[in-house]
């Protein structure tokens, strides 16, 4: 089989049936921002801005490296940002600006 063929047939999320490690029965209490991110996902779905399937596809489109290295809710928030850019609901500039503003609030408050 051509070496790139599997990249096409198996997108990053499509792992059902693949060999994998022993199951580690791990869990963690969500961090406050992770819970907010989950609630945001639900609210985006309620308003028909991003539905569950779009979210799943958005995560998949992050590509194998990001899917592998980012944590669960890190993948979600990055996927939301990209989807909101694609839908022209947000622009990359707008988000960068807002992130700078949010960050400066915290650096001020710790001075």
């Amino acid at each position: 089989m051509n070496s790139t063929e599997n990249l096409v047939k198996r997108l990053p999320n499509d792992i059902g049936g693949l060999p994998a490690d022993r199951i580690q029965q791990i869990d963690h209490e969500l961090l406050p921002w992770e819970k907010r991110c989950h609630a945001l996902a639900d609210v985006l779905d309620f308003h028909k801005i991003i539905n569950t399937e779009e979210k799943r596809r958005g995560v998949e489109q992050l590509g194998g490296e990001m899917v592998g290295k980012l944590t669960y809710y890190e993948r979600w928030i990055v996927a939301f940002a990209f989807i909101l850019f694609q839908k022209a609901i947000l622009t990359p500039d707008e988000l960068a600006q807002k992130m700078k503003e949010v960050e400066s609030r915290y650096s001020r408050s710790t001075l």
Partner: protein, 215 residues
Amino acid sequence: METHDHDHPDVHQKSAAEPAPRYYEIMETAVRELLVEKKLVGPGEIRRQIEVLDSRTPALGAKVVARAWVDPEFRARLLANGRTACESEFGISFYDDTKLIVLENTDKIHNLIVCTLCSCYPRPVLGLPPDWYKAKPYRARAVREPRAVLAEFGTDIPEDVEIRVSDSTAMVRYLVLPQRPVGTENFTEEQLAEIVTRDAMIGVVRVNLENRSTP
């Protein structure tokens, strides 16, 4: 629970002891605030949804299972339409607008649920899934070697019992109706609910009396 959101424009409560947020947390706050500024999301909506999420735990699913064990007519309604039975008889709202299929374990069939593509889960009745449910080993292997997966949870299913693995989707979610253990004939519905665990409703373990929590 109190549902106040009128005077809390920011969901995040700052405190001096809190470390500075990391990149992704800053992104979350920025996306949320931009959506609120654009009036695409109401200011209190995220907070309200967090309250909904917090209100959903496996204890809800356990109540449904216990009712199905004591009330054959409810069991029939639950198996016919899981969502309608939970909504109309327990007042459980399906905030994610998913369909719920309840899978009954019997002497001949053991059910297991998974979401191979991501992390779809019967959240209205069980809350959020545990991390292992969302991680690669469970998602990859549950559909290929369920007996080996079950063995890692300490569950041994006899060879003559068929194992059925159901793969969840964005729109269709599953809940396992475990078998009622022997020795529970005199239990009340409330006592039965206490022995039903999250993992039993995912199907990775059976319900057994050792799960009983001390009052």
